[in-house]
């Protein structure tokens, strides 16, 4: 009895997560009337998508209600896997799949073109042009994963909205990390600043797993509307210091300006305090940044030259120190403001413990280090050392997938990066990201492109593409994209493409046409002709003879066309009623006369003409038509290509010509010829291999009598 799977107690042993409570399997019953004994059979096959189909077939039980079999469809959704949490919307996911086809195909074309242009250069990864193409590819893919669009700014900005809450995708976050480290060669000197931007876009992603600055700000924003004097709230100062630590300067300045001392009625009494708040805000907004430009609304002063930056940095630091030692602090009566502003200055001055307490997880601390403690960090090695230090300060028991990815990249361990991409983001990510990885370094290229015996002689890159193509092939709407990926696989691509095409249901006309189109693009003539043969036979079997013959002709399937012609012969030899005449006349028309190998067709064409004239004779009393029919009969009987088994049916059909009332239609010699043929037939009948035409018993005698009568009348006439 088919039913639910018994959940295994040891969950680690299951390959695909299956939660019994999420989906009830669909059960179909199979009713059949096959007589016992039938051997019970069990079949397991993949249905569409993640559905596994288990079929049980057996003889129906004696009780009436028991069916002869059942089909159980289990949906093995992998919703526990991280990648699917974001992409459970299948349609949205397919949009990414569709969109990535063109950038991928373009890049492959460019690669092939470059390889053809410079055959001597074994690797193209260090070409200046190449890195430009890779960057373009990366940007195109990146734009598919969601736009970084800031929602249209409202006309009157709400001063209490400090943070725009958007839902970033971790897939996009991961892709951007790869882009920063591997694809964007031009911006490599600004990696730390790029990471600052990256964190400001994606810090929200960490919130689900660990406390984060983003979460802190979101919580504070929710409270903000209920707070009267913000500067007395510790949460306010915590929010500012955290935002400052991770470099969200615009938010810091905005929050500082909410300080009570800015209110007009307070300005007189809290002048010094307000001056200090504003001084800090100005210093924050003037922070030197080692980058070419800043997006609109972000604060800081850009320097794209290291020496200029260094000078500006020193000057800025001096200003902070000067403010820190200023005498105005003594005049500030608001204690909380004083202490917390001093604390902010400590962050700006790079005080390790202040920075550490302002940040939540190690990536934030890492970013704070870049901003305030070690702004000149460069090179992956020193970046990795710094990351290790930050992890020690803020350890996490189970690191977030993006954290694992960052570490893998910094460690320069391509295998770890690959494993992370594959484990957390699935086959799409890895199939597309390998292009970035190989562009990143020679070692990675060698690792990915080296053919491996343990992978059946293919490279890691190819194996990932094949896996992705397999995923595409399993869906009705994406299988036609799979060929683009398969064809980029040197070793097994074409073979798997052929298998994929063979597996498509060719009898479905739209699928068949798609199949033919794909075969045309990749010169797979034999595959398309096989599909056309399958379709031809299918349509023929289902009574659509015209369509069947069409596809067989398209496939140039002479063998089957001959078989059809042979069938026609058998058919013609047996009975020729008017209705069936129409049927086979249509078929003769379909088979055409072009095909030389369909030898007997010439006869069938003549036979059809003869039958037509014979029908006209029946309709009225046209002597001319009768004479023509008689001539056609003689021609047919004389013709050596007319098979012997048709002689009698032909003569029997034309009895009324032989018995023509007005005058004999056949002359003496013609009648003699026909009589001789009849004699020959009588002899042939004695042979064991003779096939009877299936005519009435008296057919032969009535033909003989008619011929004899005709002979007599012809002699008299002559």
């Amino acid at each position: 009895m088919p039913g639910l799977l018994t959940p295994s107690t040891d969950t680690s042993s299951s390959i695909i997560p299956y939660s019994s409570d999420s989906t009830t399997p669909t059960v179909y019953t199979l009713n059949h009337n096959l007589k016992p004994p039938t051997t019970p059979r069990l079949s397991i096959s993949w249905s569409r998508g993640n559905s596994l189909r288990v079929t049980v077939f057996r003889s129906p039980a004696t009780t009436d209600n028991e069916p002869g079999g059942k089909v159980v469809e289990l949906n093995l959704s992998s919703e526990d896997v991280d990648s699917d949490i974001e992409m459970n919307d299948a349609a949205r996911w397919r949009r990414i799949v569709y969109g990535s086809v063109s950038p991928f195909a373009h890049l492959q074309n460019k690669k092939n073109a470059l390889a053809a242009l410079d055959e001597f250069r074994r690797s193209v990864s260090h070409d200046g042009d190449w890195s430009k193409y890779v960057l373009q590819y990366s940007k195109e893919i990146n734009s598919l994963l969601g736009s970084k669009k800031s929602s249209p700014t409202p006309l009157i900005e709400d001063p209490k909205t400090v943070l725009k809450v958007e839902e970033p995708s971790s897939l996009k976050a991961a892709w951007e990390l790869l882009e920063i480290f591997y694809a964007d060669k031009q911006s490599q000197p600004w990696i730390p600043e790029q990471l600052v931007d990256w964190l400001s876009d994606y810090d929200a992603l960490f919130s689900g797993q660990v406390p984060s600055v983003h979460l802190k700000l979101v919580e504070f924003q929710a409270e903000l509307i209920n707070i009267q004097a913000v500067e007395t709230e510790p949460a306010y100062w915590q929010a500012i210091s955290s935002a400052l630590a991770v470099g969200w300067l615009d938010i810091v300045v905005k929050l500082l300006r909410l300080h009570g001392s800015y209110q007009l009625n307070q300005l007189g009494t809290r002048e010094t305090e307000n001056g200090l708040v504003e001084a800090v805000a100005v210093l924050v907004s003037k922070m030197p940044r080692m980058r070419t430009d800043l997006p609109l609304g972000k604060l800081g002063e850009c320097y794209n030259n290291k020496s200029d930056f260094m000078r500006a940095w020193e000057k800025w630091r001096a200003q902070i120190t000067k403010l820190d030692c200023s005498a105005f602090w003594l005049q500030c009566s608001h204690n909380q403001t004083k202490e917390n502003l001093k604390n902010l200055l400590q962050i700006l001055l790079g005080n390790t413990s202040t920075v550490s307490s302002a940040t939540c997880h190690w990536v934030e601390l890492y970013i704070a280090h870049f901003l305030y403690i070690r702004p000149f960090t460069s090179g992956l090695e020193s970046m990795y050392v710094l990351a290790q230090k930050c992890i020690q300060l803020k350890p996490i028991s189970t690191p977030h997938k993006l954290m694992r990815l960052i570490l893998g990249i910094l460690e320069e361990n391509t295998e770890v990066v690959l494993a992370e991409c594959s484990r957390s983001f699935g086959p799409w990510m890895i199939a597309h990201a390998t292009e970035l990885l190989t562009a990143g370094s020679v070692e990675a290229e060698i690792l990915l492109k080296e053919e491996r015996d343990n992978l059946g002689g293919i490279s890691i890159e190819e194996s990932h593409r094949l896996v992705y193509a397999q995923v595409l092939s399993s869906h009705a709407l994406t299988w036609q994209i799979a060929p683009i990926y398969l064809i980029s696989c040197m070793k097994h691509g074409v073979g798997l493409l052929e298998i994929l095409l063979y597996k498509q249901p060719a009898y479905h006309s739209q699928v068949l046409l798609k199949n033919i189109e794909i075969c045309r693009m990749y010169d797979l003539d034999s595959v398309s002709s096989t599909a056309m043969k399958i379709a031809g036979v299918h349509h023929w079997k289902h009574g659509r003879k015209g369509t069947g013959v069409f596809w067989l002709q398209q496939a140039r399937d002479e063998v089957r066309l001959n078989r059809i012609a042979q069938k026609l012969f058998d058919f013609v030899g047996k009975s020729i009623s008017d209705e069936s005449f129409e049927q086979w006349e249509g078929l003769i028309e379909l088979l055409g006369s072009e095909s030389k190998t369909v030898g007997g067709l010439e006869f069938l064409h003549k036979y059809r003409d003869f039958k037509k004239s014979l029908q006209q004779v029946q309709d009225g009393v046209f002597t001319d038509a009768a004479r023509k029919a008689g001539e056609a009969l003689i021609l047919l009987m004389k013709n050596p290509s007319t098979p012997q088994r048709f002689w009698l049916p032909l003569l029997y059909d034309s009895l009324k010509l032989l018995n023509w009332r007005e005058r004999p239609l056949l002359n003496v010699s013609q009648t003699n010829m026909l009589l001789n043929k009849l004699q020959e037939l009588s002899v042939a009948r004695l042979r064991p291999d003779f096939v009877e035409a299936g005519l009435p018993q008296e057919a032969l005698s009535s033909v003989r009598v008619a011929l004899a009568t005709n002979l007599g009348r012809a002699i008299l006439e002559e």
């Binding site: 569409r48 086809v101 015209g546 369509t547």
Partner: protein, 349 residues
Amino acid sequence: MEPEPQTTQTNLHILPQSSYIDSLRFLPPISAFSRHIAVASFNSDTSIPSLTLHSLTTTPTLTPITSFTPSSRITSLKTTQSLIAASTVTGSVHILFPNLINGTFESEVNVPDNVLHSGRVSGLDVLESGGECVSVGEDGRVNVISVGEDGRVDYRKVFDGKGLVSFTAVKWASQMEFVTGGFGNCVQWWDVRRAGGPVSQFKGNWAQGATSGIIHSIDIHPSRKHTCLAGGSYGTVFAWDLRRPQQPIVLSGIDNGETAACISESDVWEVHYDTFMSASDHAKLSSKGVLPAMICSEDGILAVLKQGEEPTELLAENCAINCFDIDPHNPSDVICGLEWESIALLTRA
């Protein structure tokens, strides 16, 4: 300097959907600013086909208003002033009467599976005046369905090919005549008053074996009822004039010896006469030539073909363009159904 005539200024919007678009049609406008389209789609995740009415705003956005679930996937969709007709892969025909002001379907008439056709109904057309609907199928049957004022349907078989022929497209030429297309690039002209078989037939290139093709779509211009436009396999687009039945005018595709511009080598899925014309086009229009035709193809091309001119490409997509429709009231606008689950809206300037 003379301006280049081949370029057309276009404005394109791609509107992603979450199901496969089988066919789409403009519906008659209820006001100058309110347009509606009917979309036949198939959700492959749930295997549910649907026929949905969308309102099309100028932004542009598509907002679904109401939807109908046909018995199976829609193969052909036609709209007139008063009704929407759709045929399906399992042989049924649905006729719906939309009320665009309320955004509902007022009534529906269904002819169930296997009554008119056994198996796929490959083509369907409705007379512009409403009432008569002709359907053709792979089973070789040709049926005329009459829809009465009271919503009653009556149907009769015009022809039964008994599987020896299969039809793939159909289009009314007049109140009494229609044209069908099928395998081997065959085109047949029928008159409902003459039962038993077609009045005239163009054999196409059936006899040429492997290079023969299938007609996917037919159009007939109301002002030139004797000429039909047909499009099919291998980028073939030709016009067949009933008065010169042996000499089709090839607009695109492989022709015996003659060189016609080949816009595409893939299947041409749909053809329509292009009713959008500039003043210079009007001047050039002769009474003899074939009117401009728009086609969409498997290799993602939407183009306008004019006899004796280079084709004008309006769109070149990365995926197939399965269907399109020209807004009859505003012919500068074209909607296309793209293979990758999206609808493209194209506006020509």
